[in-house]
């Protein structure tokens, strides 16, 4: 199974430098289990919502953290065994003076290649408490099967 992080375009060295800075920051985050976002700001990083993938005998379940959106603003598609979650979070128009720019606005996309065939007609999704949960029942041929001995 491969999980592809969305990398839209590269505009030469500067952008690459930001990418490195970003991943360095992610590394820091992991090590110290704390967020350095206030330090680096979020303008360098793109929004890649965190996600989990689970499986049991019957299904795969993908959970993504996408806080503060409307259900209609999230798009889910399944193509060739790859599940793509995408959308755009728009900044609310406001005359208010803002200080604090940690939250990310703009487009996001994540793609998950599922490790086995799924039944595309039975995929279900729910969005609650900022968590998107997609249930993908395995195709019959992908389910584990007990073979009886005669």
């Amino acid at each position: 199974m491969s999980i592809v992080r969305y990398r839209p375009f590269s505009h030469g060295d500067l952008s690459n430098a930001f990418d490195r800075l970003s991943s360095l920051r992610e590394e820091f985050d992991r090590v110290f289990n704390t967020s350095f976002d206030p330090l680096f700001g979020s303008s360098f990083s793109r929004w890649n919502p965190a996600l989990d993938v689970y499986q049991d005998k019957e299904k795969f379940t993908v959970v993504a953290e996408i806080p503060g959106m409307k259900k209609e603003e999230i798009e889910i598609s399944l193509h060739d065994g790859a599940l793509t979650i995408s959308g755009e979070r728009k900044r609310e128009e406001s005359k208010d003076q803002g200080y604090g720019t940690e939250r990310f606005f703009g487009k996001f996309q994540r793609t998950v290649t599922l490790p086995a065939a799924v039944d595309a007609d039975k995929v279900k999704a729910s969005y609650k408490d900022g968590l998107l949960e997609i249930t993908l029942p395995k195709a019959e041929e992908a389910k584990p099967r007990q073979i009886e001995l005669n």
């Binding site: 199974m1 999980i3 289990n33 704390t34 967020s35 976002d37 206030p38 979020s42 965190a50 996600l51 989990d52 993938v53 689970y54 499986q55 049991d56 299904k59 795969f60 379940t61 959970v63 953290e65 996408i66 806080p67 503060g68 959106m69 409307k70 406001s94 005359k95 208010d96 003076q97 803002g98 200080y99 604090g100 720019t101 940690e102 939250r103 990310f104 998950v112 490790p115 969005y127 609650k128 408490d129 900022g130 968590l131 949960e133």
Partner: protein
């Protein structure tokens, strides 16, 4: 501008078990509006406390029901915590909060004395 200055100590020792949620602050004429991202937290998992001039935000995640064995994990399971020092100009009695789809919005009204006011010239 340092009205809601974040206390440094939250990002060091005491927060080891907590995750610091990302947040934005905006100021309108009569209130500060704080928006904090806490996916996985609903109303019942939220604790907001104002004490000694500080606003303490704690968010407990709703436990995800067993949905199988994890194949790949990025989402952290830690609860959230963030502390803000409140400017004396904030009317703490009128702070209100709501959470919708994991996004907490706290409105902190400014006390009457600091609101911009037009003085009519007679």
């Amino acid at each position: 501008m340092n009205t809601l200055a974040q206390r440094d100590s939250t990002s060091t020792n005491e927060s080891a078990a907590y995750l610091t949620p990302v947040a934005d602050i905006a100021s309108s004429g009569d209130a500060y509006v704080l928006q904090v991202e806490m996916p996985g937290v609903d109303k019942s998992g939220l604790e907001l406390t104002v004490e000694n001039g500080e606003l303490v935000i704690v968010g407990h995640r709703r436990r995800i029901d067993s949905i199988g064995e994890p194949l790949y994990r990025e989402i952290r399971t830690n609860d959230y915590r963030r502390v803000y020092e409140l400017d004396p100009s904030i009317d703490t009695g009128k702070i209100n909060a709501r959470i919708d789809q994991g996004l907490l919005t706290v409105t902190l009204p400014k006390a009457e004395t600091v609101k911009p006011r037009k003085i009519a010239v007679e």
